[in-house]
Amino acid sequence: MVRILIVVALFGAAGVAANAVEIAPGHTTDIGLDVGYIDVSGYPSWTDGSVGKLRYSDDGFVLNRAFVDYRGRWADSLHAHVVLEGYDDDIGSAIDFTQAYLEWRPVPRSATRYRLKLGAFYPRISLENVDASWSSPYAASSSAINTWIAEEIRTFGAELSISRRPATLGGLHAFSADVAAFRGNDPAGALLAWKGW
């Protein structure tokens, strides 16, 4: 069985925040286009109802994804983040917002810090997907666990993050607790039951 997957990231996808273009003072965008050439053999894709692990069943050039990642400072302590993504795969094509939230970051008055997010966002959970549009700077595609988080754990709601940073007093560690209230989410775990890990 020969399976070749060639992915060419044209630009942006492997960029970091510093590569973002400043469109106005305090407002940046990061534009990414990820195209690839697929030559696949084996079982047809799970998107066709089969047991193949890959996203595509047919050979040829594909648009993996395109995105516009916007970050803006609306006020000193109020930041906005919106990500618009476009897909075209065997499931169909789609353009949609994957993230859109406001974050209030009040200036700390003690070693305890508060952050409040409102909107659609991923939980602050991944050390891997730290690049623009919640993508990984280390790999061409998301890991299994991040794929699951992206599909099922992304919430629409509010998240309060409280962190205590004794590092300011010279310590090594910081402690953080995140509490979120959300709605409109599938029961997390259903996808694992359907597709496996």
Binding site: P25, R73, P108, R109, S110, S126
Partner: protein
Amino acid sequence: MLKGSGIRLGAALLALLFLTAGNSVVHATSVDVQVLGPDGEPVSEVAVFVVAPAAAARMSAVATATMDQIDTCFVPHMLVVQKGTAVEFPNSDVVAHHVYSFSKPNNFVLPLYKGDAHAPITFEHAGVVILGCNIHDGMLGYIVVVDSGVFGITDVAGRVTLELEAGAGDYLVNIWSPRIRDDQESLQKTVSRQSDATLVFGLQKKLRPPHDAQSTAVKWSEY
């Protein structure tokens, strides 16, 4: 603006020249300070400063200091300034910073956005000012504001030499570092300024590990 700072620098140098000329008449006493950890190893990056009586402290010639932001780090990590010094925060990074300190009564908030002019911060109270950035949570820095013009930071050998005007009376030498866990009272030594002195501060408690910008800058996904 550059021209203005050039003139200021020139004035400062001139003042320094006069000070030096004045000092050539009065003999200065020097105090050699060394800081050693509980294991006997020298401790670098420790602030050493002379405190009361105020008469012992020579006025500092430099009225401004700089705490820069480079690669989302405060540079230097620790800055020692005399009370009343104006500290510039130039922001040499491409990204914006939002510097703050909650260390009362020197607390302040200073947005450092590109293209926006901002005044320096003048610290009017002695004490340690812990710096943070409200955008980059991992950034950490210290400004040690001292009620004295005589101060320094220990080198890799844990040493620093301070010069004082000779005269009657004693003076107090203090040390401070975010790594030191010893009681602050044990970090003060009284020395007569009749003659040169050598002071060794032997720390009793194990030091905290040095600040590692990389480890505290571990970024959770913010995307």
